[in-house]
C-alpha cells in the first residue's frame, strides 16, 4: 500500500535496535527501561476498578472531567503554577499526546523548533509531523547538561519560533534551577520564542524542588506545560497526561484533541483523580527509593572510572563511556547481558554516554553494575 511521505520518511527509533537485541536473550538485566518499576498506587488502581464496576465507561468532556482538571490545577500550585481548570487545563492520552497537540497547535509549516539535546526521542519526529523543522541545540556534560543562552545562540535558536524544554531530563537526569531558567527565559523573551515545557518528571527531583520556566516573568503566556501521571504515579500503561497553558492555546489544542482522541480514557481519569487525592505518600516513598538507587549507581560508576555527573531528577544516570557509545552498549549486552541505551540515540551531546535507568530493583542494580565493572576490567 502506498504510504504518505511524512510517515515513510520518519526515521526508526534508535532504541528499537537495542530492544530487539535485548529481547533476543533471556538472561538480560535491563537498565534500558524508561518507566518506573513500581505499580500504580493501589488506591488509584482500586478507584479505576470501582469506576468500571459502576459502569463509568462513557466518554468524558473533551477537556477531561471537571473534578480531575480542578485537582490538576490545585496540584500544580506546589510548583507555583496557577491555571484555571475551566479554560487552561486539557487532559490528554498520555503526556505524549499533549506534546503532539502542542506541536500541531503552535507550529506552522516551516517553523523552526529548537530542541535541546540529548533529549527524549519523540520531539524531533513530532515537530516534523507538524510540518516544522527541528533545530538541535546540543548541551554539554561540562554544563551538567543544562541549557544556556550561549548554547541557544550558538545553535542559531534566536531565529527559532519555538523551544522544547525537558527538565528534569530524559536521558541525562539533568535539572535546571530557577536562576538558570531565568537566563533561558530572557533569551526566549528577547527572541520571541514560545516554549513547550515537558515537565513529566517534575515530581522526581532529589534535593532541590522542581523549577518551571512557566513561572518566570513573562513566560506563562508563551509556555505550554506538559505533565502527566506516568512517571510520578507509575501509571505509564494508563496513558494519562495533560497540558497547562493560556486559554487560547489550550482551546486550540482541544480542537485537535476533540477530533482525534475525543477524550482521554475515562478509567484512567478516575485513577488519576484518586492518585492526586490520596497517593502523595506513595510518591514520596518511590522518590526516596529512587534516590537511594541513584546514589548507589552514580557512586559505583564513578568508582569504576565511568564519569557520571549527579543527576538531579528523573531516574536516569548518564555516565560517560568514552568513544563509541553504540559499540560499547552492544558489546556490554553481548558480553554481560546488561542492556543500556547509547546516549547518541537521544541526539547531539549524547555521544560517548550511556543512558542507565535505575528504575529497577536494588538487587538487579548491584548485579548489573558488578557486571559492568567486570566488563570494563576484562576490556582493559
Amino acid at each position: 500500500m502506498r504510504t504518505a511521505d511524512r510517515a515513510r520518511e520518519l526515521p526508526e527509533s534508535g532504541i528499537r535496535k537495542f530492544f530487539e537485541l535485548a529481547e533476543a536473550r533471556d538472561d538480560v538485566i535491563s537498565l534500558g527501561v524508561g518507566e518506573p518499576d513500581f505499580s500504580a498506587p493501589w488506591a488509584a488502581r482500586n478507584a479505576a476498578i470501582g469506576g468500571l464496576e459502576r459502569g463509568r465507561t462513557s466518554y468524558t468532556a473533551n477537556r477531561g472531567t471537571a473534578e480531575l482538571r480542578e485537582a490538576i490545577a490545585a496540584h500544580h500550585e506546589r510548583y507555583d503554577q496557577s491555571y484555571d481548570p475551566g479554560e487552561e487545563v486539557l487532559v490528554t492520552t498520555g503526556a505524549s499526546e499533549a506534546v503532539d497537540l502542542a506541536f500541531r497547535t503552535l507550529v506552522d509549516p516551516g517553523d523552526v523548533v529548537a530542541i535541546h539535546e540529548p533529549s527524549y526521542i519523540s520531539y524531533a519526529p513530532g515537530v516534523e509531523l507538524a510540518g516544522g523543522e527541528p533545530l538541535s541545540v546540543p548541551t554539554r556534560a561540562a554544563d551538567d547538561f543544562a541549557l544556556t543562552p550561549e548554547r541557544l545562540e550558538a545553535a542559531g535558536a534566536a531565529e527559532a519560533d519555538l523551544l522544547v524544554l525537558c527538565y528534569p531530563n530524559n536521558p541525562t537526569g539533568a535539572t535546571m534551577t530557577d536562576e538558570q531558567l531565568a537566563e533561558v527565559a530572557a533569551f526566549c523573551r528577547e527572541n520571541d520564542l514560545r516554549v513547550v515545557a515537558d515537565e513529566i518528571y517534575s515530581a522526581l527531583t532529589y534535593g532541590a524542588d522542581h523549577a518551571s520556566i512557566a513561572t518566570q516573568p513573562g513566560m506563562r503566556e508563551r509556555t505550554i506545560v506538559v505533565n502527566g501521571f506516568s512517571k510520578a504515579y507509575a501509571m505509564t500503561g494508563l496513558r494519562l497526561g495533560y497540558a497547562l497553558g493560556p486559554a487560547d492555546a489550550i482551546d486550540a489544542m482541544n480542537r485537535i484533541h476533540q477530533y482525534t482522541m475525543l477524550s482521554a480514557p475515562t478509567t484512567a481519569q478516575i485513577a488519576a483523580l484518586e492518585a492526586l487525592r490520596s497517593c502523595d505518600d506513595e510518591v514520596t516513598e518511590m522518590v526516596e527509593e529512587y534516590n537511594r538507587r541513584r546514589r548507589l549507581v552514580v557512586s559505583r560508576f564513578n568508582a569504576m572510572g565511568l564519569d557520571t555527573f549527579e543527576p538531579g531528577g528523573a531516574f536516569y544516570a548518564f555516565p560517560e563511556c568514552g568513544g563509541d557509545d553504540e559499540a560499547f552498549a552492544e558489546a556490554l549486552l553481548e558480553a554481560e547481558g546488561v542492556a543500556v541505551v547509547p546516549g547518541s540515540v537521544f541526539g547531539a551531546g549524547g555521544e560517548g554516554h550511556l543512558r542507565v535507568s535505575y528504575a529497577t530493583s536494588m538487587r538487579e542494580l548491584k548485579e548489573a553494575t558488578d557486571r559492568i565493572a567486570r566488563f570494563l576490567a576484562e576490556r582493559d
Partner: protein, 162 residues
C-alpha cells in the same frame, strides 16, 4: 539523627547491605555510616539482624501460630511481669501487648502442631495470671517482615523503552 534515619531506612530493607553500599545510597561516608549503626544499636533502636524466612520452603518446615492470651492482673503483677515470663520461652518468637479483645498477641514457632499445642497447654495456660488462650495456626504466609513471599519478580515491562 538524619544520618541515623537514612541508615535505618536502608537496613530495614536489607540488613546485609555492606558499609560501602550503605554509604553510597545515603551519601554519607563509610565512617559516618559505621557511627550511625553503632549509635542505633547502642540506643536500642536496632535490636538485631535476622533473615526473613519462608519456613514452608525448608525441608523440615516449621509451624507458626498466633496465640491470643488474656490475663488477670493483681496489685503485685503487671503486664510487664507477665510479659517477662512469657518472653523467656524459646518457642515465643514475638510478643506484643495489644488493644482490643485480648491482652497479648504471641507468635509461637514449633516443629509441629503438637509441639505448639503442648507448649500452650503445658507452659502458658497454667500460668496463674492467664485466664484464656486462643491459638490460630498459620496456614500460609504471604508476606512477612515487609517482604512478599511470591515466585520471582514479575516484570512485564519492555526490556528497552523510551
Amino acid at each position: 539523627m538524619e544520618a541515623e534515619r537514612e541508615v535505618l531506612d536502608v537496613l530495614a530493607r536489607n540488613a546485609r547491605e555492606d558499609i560501602e553500599d550503605i554509604a553510597a545510597q545515603t551519601g554519607l561516608d563509610a565512617e559516618r555510616v559505621e557511627e550511625a549503626i553503632a549509635s542505633l544499636e547502642a540506643d536500642g533502636v536496632v535490636h538485631g539482624y535476622q533473615a526473613v524466612v519462608d519456613w514452608d520452603r525448608t525441608e523440615e518446615g516449621k509451624i507458626r501460630a498466633i496465640v491470643e492470651i488474656n490475663v488477670e492482673l493483681d496489685r503485685e503483677t503487671g503486664y510487664e511481669q507477665v510479659a517477662d515470663r512469657i518472653a523467656k520461652f524459646p518457642a515465643v518468637d514475638a510478643l506484643h501487648l495489644v488493644s482490643g479483645d485480648y491482652d497479648f498477641a504471641v507468635e509461637v514457632l514449633g516443629g509441629s502442631m503438637n509441639d505448639v499445642s503442648r507448649f500452650i497447654s503445658e507452659q502458658v495456660a497454667p500460668m496463674p495470671e492467664v485466664t484464656q488462650t486462643v491459638t490460630h495456626y498459620i496456614m500460609e504466609t504471604y508476606k512477612d517482615g515487609g517482604v512478599r513471599f511470591a515466585d520471582g519478580d514479575d516484570d512485564d515491562r519492555l526490556s528497552v523503552s523510551p
